[in-house]
Point group: C2
Chain length 214, copies 2
Amino acid sequence: QSIYEKLGKTTRTVDVEIDTQIEQLRETKQRYENILALARSYSNHFSNLMQTQRLLSDQFLELKQKSFLLCDEFSYNAETQRVLVQNGEILLNALNYFISTLNTLCTKTIEDTIITIRLYETARLEYDACRTELELLSQGSHMNEKQDAFQKYKEKYEHLKSDVSIKLKFLDENQTKVMKKQLLLFHNAIAAYFSGNKEALDATMKQFNLKLIS
Amino acid sequence: QSIYEKLGKTTRTVDVEIDTQIEQLRETKQRYENILALARSYSNHFSNLMQTQRLLSDQFLELKQKSFLLCDEFSYNAETQRVLVQNGEILLNALNYFISTLNTLCTKTIEDTIITIRLYETARLEYDACRTELELLSQGSHMNEKQDAFQKYKEKYEHLKSDVSIKLKFLDENQTKVMKKQLLLFHNAIAAYFSGNKEALDATMKQFNLKLIS
């Protein structure tokens, strides 16, 4: 059936509304996966930077002990890097929470609906294949048998279509809620960190029930 | 001579003051090279982070167009990452200036004095070797010849010692001046960037005559 459809030799049952929603969900999933991959490299690069800040702070501290003339300069540099690492730990927790939640959204929540969609698409193919056969037969001995089978495929297809429709609706609400919260966390934690606002950073973590220290 | 010295079979001419200064310079060079290496990874990790921020900002902008319900969330996230990249470019210029100046200090300025130190150390070895020989000869036909050679080695040694002494003095002043300025730049640029203070970041760049855009 699917080959006939590609060749344009047969008709397919189309539900414009649901098919559009499915298309949109697949696009959304793709985009969220991109965001997830970028958030992961964000976290990696940031964590590498923190490691360098840690080493640099130690090195500045050591030089502070050894260098009488540049004692102050090494001292405030060591302190600044130390504070950046300290706040960085908090931001890293926020980033990792964002990543973990987005990962669950993509690989569990959305994936669950995608699996139902695949079942629905198979049922649609089977239903259309049976419908095409029935149209070609037009009259004959196996007519009744075929019509029973057709009825069963039709029911299965419609049942799965309704499943998909319900799941899409719930997913859309749920997904929007989760992303709204996560995007707010991501933004507020980053904005607080990069404005050196320790209080705002702590407040953001508290707001999202995240631990301050990993 | 250097083998005899290691075996403790001969004496060596020691100038405690200058030898201590040489030892300190070698330690300082080692420490500055560590700082240089760390500053280079700082700049690399930071630049990788900026690249991710750039991609993330674009991705958020794209999602802003596509997602009606999360339009605001994607919008402010895109904007924040964009501003971070914009300020990051300036910080990166400051970091690279710090790296380039420290590199010159280690590989040119300090290295120049180190080369003179090596010549001085060779002259000291030759001078001590000649002195030892002269002591062993005590009396003999080649005494005058040897004493002429000894005189020449002695002069060469003392000339180089004075060279080293002068270079060490100038290097110390110069090195302290350069590092004082660089450590201030490094600190102020980083502190301004990580407190989201664009004005202070611009002012720091101006203070050190650095371009805002690379």
